[in-house]
Amino acid sequence: MLDAGRTETLLEVNNIEVIYNHVILVLKGVSLSVPQGGITALLGGNGAGKTTTLKAISNLLHSERGEVTKGSIVYRGERVQDLDPAALVKKGVIQVMEGRHCFEHLTIEENLMTGAFTRRDGKGAVAADLEMVYEYFPRLKERRKSQAGYTSGGEQQMCAIGRALMSRPETILLDEPSMGLAPQLVEQIFQIVKAVNEGEGVSFLLAEQNTNVALRYAHYGYILENGRVVMDGPAADLRENPDVKEFYLGVSDEGRKSFRDVRSYRRRKRWLA
């Protein structure tokens, strides 16, 4: 197991502030760092700002009328927040967006091939990687000729991850990979994340709602609330933290509560109103 202290830091986000549309302040000073070769989880409730953080890193905020107004984002010691997204991909940082975003009218295989757009290492290498992706996701191989728009949610998620892998990234920013996937598939996708992480040495920054799975696979975690990091620590520690247990894992001292019982009680957060 890796931990943040001993390895080189790949990506560092220092105290960034993000404003949408000139008026909506969403991130109020978020700092985090992603170590090389690790899986770092970014946890938090709805609207906490996970997606915004990832987009700020990959410079995709611009087309949503958002901007980073304070702080800095540093990748391998270099300030990257003014680069365009393509340049960042060339540097090895690629994002898998929330909600999959496959190219509907392209076939699965064409979708995967677009992932290799920035690569210059020849057809052979790309073809080899395509095979590798198919190995990780045999289901995609079956559906390679189908238009992505007509495949199911799970297949689209695989396609999106596969597409990112095709760029031979160093770091993948993965936004809610488990959303809408069947339990078996969630497990499977995280297994693949782990395999890619260990096999190809790719680092992950992973935004997740599904804290349970995320903390099982991640090495380190940050918890974001209302645009601020409220807690961070090694995943194992977080898993044991009573607050995290209560609010994010849904287990309290008495064990897991049935969802049927929610009518009679209500959790109240202790930190931040």
């Binding site: 009328r65 997204p85 393509a86 690629i94 994002q95 509907e104 064409e110 091939m113 760029s167």
Partner: protein, 317 residues
Amino acid sequence: MLNEIFIKPFVDMVEAPDFLLQVLWEGLVSGILYALIALGFVLIYRSSRIFNFAQGIMVVFAALTLVGLHAMGVPAWICVVLTLGVMFVLAVTIERVVLRPLVGQPDIILFMATIGITLFLIGFGEIIFGGENKVMITEELGIPTDSVLLEPWGGLLILEQKDITAVAVAALLVVALLVFLNKTRMGRAIRALGDDHQAALSVGISLQTIWVLVWFIAGIIALVTGIAWGARAGVSFALEVIAYKALPVLMLGGLESITGAIVGGLMIGMLEKLFEIYWGQPLLGGNTETWFAFVLALIVLLFRPQGLFGERIIERV
């Protein structure tokens, strides 16, 4: 009345087959020219979902630049190269000044922006080139200008060599574009961009490069179109209105489809000419070409809402 509508036109067609052929040929030639403009539209639409209204004025602009340079004494072929240079600069400028700040906006906003570009280019062009009619430098470019006279069934069929050239060039262009879009890395990126440009950005496709490229190709197409049209009717700003003709062609063929642009162009070119000659002029007072294409496209769309060759609209919840 029924006779006039359903029988007489066909009798006329059969009685003067050479004339019918001439009508079809004229239709074919204008169809090709519509299709050329439509091609420019398709390319840009595919890569950005921008409905580029400025394609028409780009045609005028390219043709005027070519003729204007030649009037300054530059040899014809160098003019072509220089004009391409100008179109490239235009593409870069449009990308920088207009498209980049508008990334991610709704389609209709981008559409409006292209109308803004159109207005700008009209004003700019008139200041630079003046409003006079100009003659296309057809001969100087080595395009044959004679006409071929054929005599089918003892009648007369006039084919102009420059029209034949236009048809050939258009065919070539289409093949090249089809290969480019479907078989190359750039082509795939162009199509991806059209589907979801956030996602395209996220995988490292550079909007800027692709947009410049695409607008430049559209500029090349505009130049070819400008030469072909200009050779027929002279070069002036009045040419701009043919852009409207490209709209039904596009929609009939399907906004994303190169094949659609060609098939749509030919269909519209020939059918509107047939309709005008055999029905419009005798029965409706003529000038039906102003609307026929639109109505035809509308009828086709009622049966195929994405046009003949357009991509199926994916609707899921």
